[in-house]
């Protein structure tokens, strides 16, 4: 029983982490909550649905194509809306509400083009396998392999390459990075693209693992919000820690409380953290008090 809870937590966390990384990274460079990550998840999910179902392409191609599209969306939003708002020195609150608007647009488009019912990628159950004390389906095993793979790849880039060093510099001190000759604009584009790419990937994975409906976008970005706050917003290790912690907490709460209370529990945890430790487990102190 306990092993199943852990296993479920691992799977959930692996999905959450893909959305949380980009979200947390965006906060670290832009200092705002980017709700449009929900739009990236939706784009990834529905694009892969169309490509996989209508055109019957190989799943791997669908995954890469859909995630790439999501990445492009992230890039576009940055070049148009974020750049404009930044130029006019808009406060983080305005970014928050604007990205909420973007998410609403994405959700509305999903409803218009695909309807509000749930879409299934794969009819019928997946083969499942028994391990010591828990069961995993084939797709869940794939998730537990793919997600950490992308995590490791991203971490390697973030910590071991020049591009990663530039990303870290910008998130530390944007002005100084600019003065030191780092092309802030270009690096930001890499950040927004890769964050959105991972979120789109999460959308595809969710599509294969369960169902997709327009409400998925908002749900997904809220996972990212809670996971980031718990783990420490603005930091990569924080995002990973927060996402997996949230996954385990959710898995645990479903085992103890009736399923329909899960959102309440998750958000109570969020509020608790916001009030008592807004910088999360690993984060640095941020000014969130007036």
């Amino acid at each position: 029983m306990a092993e199943q809870i852990l296993a479920n937590g691992l799977i959930t966390g692996s999905i959450y982490v893909l959305v949380t990384i980009g979200f947390s990274l965006t906060y670290s460079v832009g200092r705002f909550f980017d709700m449009s990550f929900g739009a990236h998840v939706l784009l990834g999910a529905y694009t892969s649905f169309v490509v996989f179902h209508e055109f019957n392409v190989h799943p791997v191609f669908a995954i890469i194509f859909a995630s790439f599209m999501a990445g492009l969306l992230g890039l576009t939003i940055e070049k148009t809306i974020f750049k404009t708002l930044k130029k006019r020195k808009a406060p983080p609150l305005v970014f928050f509400v604007a990205t909420l608007g973007i998410l609403i647009i994405a959700q509305a488009l999903a409803v218009i083009f695909f309807g509000s019912d749930s879409k299934v990628f794969h009819s019928g159950p997946y083969p499942s396998f028994s391990f010591f004390n828990f069961r995993l389906t084939s797709i869940q095993i794939v998730i537990c392999l793919i997600s950490p793979l992308f995590l490791i790849a991203f971490s390697l880039i973030f910590y071991k390459t020049d591009l990663g060093r530039r990303m870290r510099a910008i998130s530390d001190d944007r002005e100084l990075s600019n003065i030191m000759g780092i092309n802030v604009e270009r690096t930001m584009q890499y950040i927004f693209f890769s964050g959105a790419f991972l979120a789109g990937l999460a959308g595809v994975i969710i599509g294969f693992e369960s169902t997709v409906d327009p409400g998925l976008g908002l749900k997904a970005v809220l996972w990212a919000v809670v996971a980031s706050i718990i783990g420490g917003i603005g930091s990569l290790p924080g995002a990973i820690l927060g996402a997996y912690t949230l996954g385990f907490l959710e898995s645990l709460s479903t085992a103890v409380f009736p399923g329909e209370w899960k959102p309440v529990i998750v958000f109570l945890i969020l509020i608790a953290f916001l009030l008592f430790r807004a910088h999360g487990i690993l984060g640095v102190k941020i000014e969130k008090y007036e």
Binding site: P91, V94, V97, I105, Q107, L268, L274, K288, E290
Partner: protein, 284 residues
């Protein structure tokens, strides 16, 4: 046709009440809250339950609803107030989600997704409701107008413009913010009670987090720090979906289109004109 127009105008009036209360918080005090819909729900459910299950005279039901909502406003406000800007908005949104789930899950109290039906109204005729709702709306708007032009209103604006300075001048910033929060909740309560008695059916779908976003959008689009803003915003945002109805689009596409327009409005206002159409306060 007349009945339809009367119905729509009552809905508009209810939104004006809810939005103007929120406008006090957002426009005058600078606190962007995304949970007004939840307070509407609290007011509606308390009214419905006291009227139906306890058979109290309707005026007492209203008063009970006001008390409960006011208390929740005080409680939830006190914990949220200490966070700034986008963190504050995030907390209120989290609270909206929590409250919506409570409406949905506490089936023994709220009837869950099935809701509560047969809620008694103050009148039996549509025109009666029309007159009463608009009468209440005008009254509440006048009270609001008096409030914002009074020294209280100046206190709110002082807190909005420069909290630290206001505190340095000896003003109790926490109390001022709390007062705005509770007032907004009370206005939402009245709107919720009117809604419950008009539709005579209360269910969670009217108080979703999306509803809270909608009411915030009314203020942002119509204009913050302006009472006309709440009026114009409500009229426009309620009229558009109703007009869409006449185009004969299939239900879901119409709903999606409505959301699309809302989203586009929100983004446009945030990028180009945060004071909205008729407002005076700019977010940046």
């Amino acid at each position: 046709m007349i009945a339809y127009l009367l119905h729509v105008s009552v809905i508009v009036a209810i939104y004006i009440i809810a939005a103007s209360g929120l406008g006090l918080m957002v426009g005058f005090t600078g606190l962007v809250s995304i949970m007004q819909g939840a307070f509407l729900g609290i007011g509606a459910y308390v009214y419905a339950l006291t009227a139906l299950k306890m058979g109290m005279p309707l005026v007492f039901c209203l008063l009970t609803a006001l008390m409960v909502t006011g208390l929740s406003g005080w409680l939830l406000g006190t914990i949220s107030i200490r966070l700034k800007g986008d963190y504050f908005a995030l907390v209120t949104f989290a609270l909206a989600v929590i409250l919506y789930n409570m409406f949905n899950n506490l089936i023994s109290i709220t009837g869950g997704p099935m809701g509560i039906s047969g809620v008694p109204g103050f009148f039996n005729s549509q025109s009666g409701f029309f007159l009463m709702t608009w009468g209440v709306t005008v009254l509440l708007l006048l009270i609001l107008k008096w409030f914002v032009t009074s020294p209280h209103g100046r206190l709110l604006k002082a807190v909005r413009e420069d909290e630290i300075l206001a505190a340095a001048m000896g003003k109790n910033v926490k109390k001022i913010k709390s007062m705005a929060f509770i007032l907004a909740a009370l206005y939402a309560c009245v709107a919720g009670v009117l809604y419950a008695s008009f539709i005579s059916y209360v269910d969670p779908s009217g108080f979703t987090p999306g509803e809270s976003i909608f009411i915030l959008a009314i203020i942002l689009i119509g204009g913050a720090e302006s009472i006309q803003g709440a009026i114009w915003g409500s009229i426009v945002l309620v009229a558009i979906p109703e007009i869409l109805r006449f185009f004969g689009l299939p239900g879901e596409i119409a709903a999606g289109l409505r959301q699309l327009i809302l989203g586009v409005f929100i983004v446009t206002i945030m990028v180009f004109r945060t004071r909205g159409v008729a407002g005076a306060y700019r977010l940046y």
